[in-house]
């Protein structure tokens, strides 16, 4: 007792909060050394001190679990089985992954720990690891644990949405670890879109509610972010505007202009043959008439085509539309190829519920 007080005083003398965890770790290391030397009477106070509500230093979850496990193990060696079970259960309730190393603990301790597992129900879910997931070749893994046999349902929910889909529904016989894999694909067959997701684990004990166990169901969740990564996509070509297309019919006003041009040719030829020609020599009216007649014919023919379709422009426009469609199809094909190479960047996100 005096040594415990001395140790506590020494630890209390260490300055600052930054050393809080170090202080707890120091005491736990000291306690573990004492346990290993089977100086159980000296180790017990140290573990109890760490677990005490009056412990003034910061204690992590893992340190509490370790303290409970060693305290339980030490108590069992001191023939205090019930007390040992209490501490084993406390460790398991805090961390369903808690376990005793068979190479370092006695069969009696292991048997007691198993008994504790049967008497308490807890599930655990390891944090999601950051991973680059190629849905065509790999899978990401969720590691879960239960203290004993349980019916388990693991499902993925898109954060903020009600919909979810199961990735595992089944039994975990005897408890322990289980790995659940997910390839990043939704039940629809599509890749999971970018966003925040939660892996939700629901479990029901198959052991029931034996004495000492007050809980038969448990749930926990881990959040993670999914980000799709793919090469930049190309934009498709914009629709052809009227400025990009040729007029497909002859319009009235140009047709009237064409008629005027044809008539102008005729008038010009006749003027050359009359006004411009030497009055004494006379003009070649026959030649002028021939050209004038052709001018009028072309003008009238052009005028007559107003409102009619212009097959050459229709064909040219069809060609332009076909070219655009082909270009867009090619762009879509290249985009599809790039999307097919999409990988998912998985990263743990803040948030965890039990």
């Amino acid at each position: 007792m005096r040594r415990l007080v001395v140790a506590a005083l020494l630890l209390a003398a260490l300055p600052g909060r930054a050393h809080g965890q170090d202080s707890t770790a120091l005491v736990l290391q000291q306690a573990r050394d004492l346990y290993e030397r089977v100086e159980l009477e000296r180790a017990l106070p140290l573990y109890r001190g760490v677990l005490s509500s009056s412990w003034r230093f910061e204690v992590t979850q893992a340190q509490r679990v370790e303290a409970n496990l060693y305290l339980g193990a030490a108590l069992l060696l001191l023939d205090a089985r019930d007390s040992a079970l209490v501490h084993f259960r406390a460790a398991l309730e805090r961390d369903a992954f808690a376990d005793l190393d068979p190479s370092r603990f006695t069969p009696a301790q292991l048997e007691a720990f198993q008994a504790a597992r049967q008497s308490v129900f807890a599930i655990g879910l390891r944090p999601v690891n950051a991973v680059r997931l190629d849905p065509r070749a790999g899978k990401m893994t969720f590691v879960i644990a239960t203290t004993h046999a349980a019916a388990v349902r693991g499902e993925i929910r898109l954060a903020g949405q009600e919909t979810s889909f199961p990735v595992f529904v089944g039994e975990i016989q005897g408890g322990g670890l289980r790995e659940i894999e997910w390839d990043g694909v939704l039940p629809s067959g599509q890749l999971a879109p970018s966003g925040r997701y939660a892996f939700v684990l629901l479990a029901r004990s198959r052991v029931g509610a034996p004495g000492g166990s007050t809980r038969v169901t448990d749930s926990t969740a881990a959040y993670f972010d999914v980000k799709q990564e793919y090469a930049a996509l190309e934009d498709t070509l914009a629709d052809l505007s009227s400025a990009d297309l040729l007029p497909e019919t002859y319009r009235a006003s140009p047709a009237a202009g064409d008629l005027l041009k044809g008539l102008s040719v005729a008038v010009g030829a006749l003027l050359l043959a009359t006004v411009a020609s030497d009055q004494d020599l006379g003009g070649a009216k026959g030649m002028a008439t021939a050209v004038g007649a052709l001018g009028v014919a072309v003008g009238v023919a052009s005028f007559a085509t107003r409102g009619r379709a212009r097959p050459e422009n229709v064909a040219a426009n069809e060609q332009r539309r076909a070219g655009r469609s082909a270009a867009n199809a090619e762009i879509r094909r290249r985009n599809a190829e790039r999307l097919a190479q999409t990988v998912l960047l998985i990263s743990p996100a803040a948030g965890r519920s039990n």
């Binding site: 040719v265 050359l272 020599l281 021939a290």
Partner: protein
């Protein structure tokens, strides 16, 4: 003298406004010509009229987007209307240039060397002309109307003083496809010479020319 000054000024004007840089060289256009040629002459005695058919060849090349030059030749045999006159043979070579200010109009100019001969003698002509040409397109750009009017400030003819009045004009139509072009043009050249004896001599050439050409790639 005035005529030469006009030619020089016109040449300077053409150089100043200059052709635009060529974006791409257009293909050559090689054409054959079939022409009805009519010559009317009044040398103070009576109206003499000769007519016949001429054949010719012309090569054109577009330089840049505005400038087109052409070299052509034509020969024709003209028969007189009056039975007492002799047949005339006309041969000519011409170097022409057209500078388009817009697709619808431009300026033209050219030099023509012409020889007119009959069994009794031969006369040599040298003509320099300049003028304006309009070429408005019909809808679709296949057909173009052609109208031109210009002066012939250089008119040097053996045995005659330079013409006091010399001009030319034309009206017609042109049809172009990608590879070939057709043209029908009525042209007029009118001259008023003074002979060495001081007598007035009016001459007028009228032509109805059909030209068919193909573009070389």
């Amino acid at each position: 003298m005035i005529a030469r000054r006009a030619v020089v000024l016109a040449a300077l004007f053409l150089l100043l406004i200059g052709p635009r840089p060529a974006r791409s060289q257009s293909p050559w256009l090689v054409s054959g010509r079939l022409a009805l040629v009519e010559e009317r002459v009044d040398a103070g005695f009576d109206l003499e009229r000769f007519s016949g058919v001429g054949l010719g060849l012309e090569v054109e090349r577009r330089l840049g987007s505005r400038f087109t030059i052409g070299l052509g030749g034509q020969g024709a045999t003209l028969q007189p209307d009056a039975s007492g006159d002799l047949d005339r043979r006309i041969g000519e070579a011409a170097l022409n240039a057209l500078m388009s200010m817009t697709p619808a109009w431009g300026f033209y100019g050219g030099l023509t060397v012409r020889a007119i001969a009959n069994d009794a003698g031969r006369q040599r002509w040298l003509l320099g002309r300049i003028g304006a040409e309009v070429r408005p397109a019909f809808t679709g750009d296949r057909f173009r109307a052609i109208g031109r009017l210009g002066v012939i400030p250089i008119s040097s003819v053996d045995g005659l003083s330079p013409s006091s009045l010399a001009f030319d004009g034309a009206a017609g139509l042109e049809y172009q496809q990608d590879r070939w072009a057709l043209k029908l043009v009525y042209g007029l050249e009118r001259f008023a010479f003074t002979s060495s004896t001081g007598a007035r001599r009016d001459e007028q050439f009228s032509t109805l020319t059909f030209r068919g050409g193909i573009r070389l790639r």
